[in-house]
Symmetry: C2
Subunit: 226 residues, 2 copies
């Protein structure tokens, strides 16, 4: 594997595990056992590394959220979309954590991310439309559908932050992808009132599979300083 690709891969790994803020170009170079000079030969700075990683993330999610136009949507489709989006979030989980800062630092990223969000919102709205076509949920007027889509998007993208800040008791307790996917429970909560009777039971039992287990919620965590 080329050094350039190793830098991207290791950066992603370190960012995900320690947070972008805690990972400098020095750390990345040290982790790969190359010199900082070598890293700067391949990338102008940390922003450039992050921008390329974002483009991979974008490509992945765009691929997942490509909605087939020509057939009605099934419950399995919906499950697939939800699972896929959370898989993507997991693989690039550092990204949303420091998003505001990253966008302030890189105008290209700000521009691309904004269009990315709009595409995701359009896809979610389209999924709602096709779920109605498939008789799974009630049809909704456009304006309600777009407000709902935005709520779904906010819950998807911020569920991890909730888990890391309010749920787990310790900083070191690392989250699993399984816990992240409990976000699906929260997303399906939004759909409940719109479910058609024929599918209600099925969706409710699907939702039940993602119910948060409240693990990691141990009380009595020590308040150790430093």
């Amino acid at each position: 594997m080329k050094t350039r690709d190793k830098i991207l891969l290791s950066s992603l790994e370190l960012f995900n595990e320690q947070g972008e803020r805690n990972v400098t170009t020095n750390h990345i170079a040290a982790y790969l056992a190359i010199s900082p000079g070598n890293l700067y030969y391949h990338f102008r700075n940390k922003s450039d590394i992050i921008y390329e990683i974002f483009q991979e993330y974008e490509k992945l999610v765009d691929f997942y959220l490509d909605i087939p136009e020509n057939r009605p949507m099934t419950l399995d489709d919906m499950t697939f979309y939800l699972e896929s989006v959370f898989d993507g979030l997991w693989s690039y989980r550092f990204f949303h954590r420091d998003l505001e800062y990253l966008l302030d630092r890189d105008q290209r990223l700000r521009h691309d991310y904004r269009e990315f969000t709009n595409r995701c919102l359009a896809s979610i709205s389209c999924i709602f439309e096709k779920l109605a076509d498939g008789g799974i949920i009630e049809p909704q007027p456009e304006s309600l559908r777009s407000a709902m889509s935005l709520n779904v998007w906010m819950i998807i993208t911020n569920w991890m932050a909730y888990l890391k800040t309010a749920h787990v008791a310790t900083a070191s307790a690392s989250l699993t992808i399984r816990e992240l996917k409990q976000g699906i429970y929260q997303v399906l909560t939004l759909e409940i009132p719109y479910l058609m009777p024929a599918y209600r039971e099925q969706v409710m039992s699907l939702r039940e599979q993602y119910r948060p287990t409240m693990s990691g919620h141990e009380e009595g965590a020590e308040m150790k300083e430093g």
Copy 2:
């Protein structure tokens, strides 16, 4: 005003305007025209400043979310709670932006924030209960109510991040409290399907008052680097 209080006040101001990550102890001291040494005489480090600011924030929100037990809830009450919570968010808006990092750095803060979130969730759930008592929304089973409350909480606390990352086109475009309160539109979206017919129209027109105007959504922002 005592120097100690000035430090807290100026720190909050700088954090809100520039983000906690971009504000060092040096910046705070320079802004106040005092020496860094003087700042360190009053506070052990930046974490301690942030912890005290959090405690103010916590106090404010706890005060707002103190639900009177002995009378039914009106629409005006609900509006007041929503307005107040967003006012609090606005005054301490730096806080949620770098939350994960801050909690990783300070175990006291992690512990206190976790309990703070749980209190807020309980208050939201209680508001839903009393809205049902007041005949404004349908009564909900406890498990649905708590999942709904969590969704409301995520939307409230992350609406600003959405605005700053996906909505406004430029980094410098500063948000107004008016735009922040458009989050109320999104929160009320969640309530729609549960509204009792007698209040449906009233709530819908209340919601309409917060509808996002899509200002700041100008296309064609230059992709200027640096």
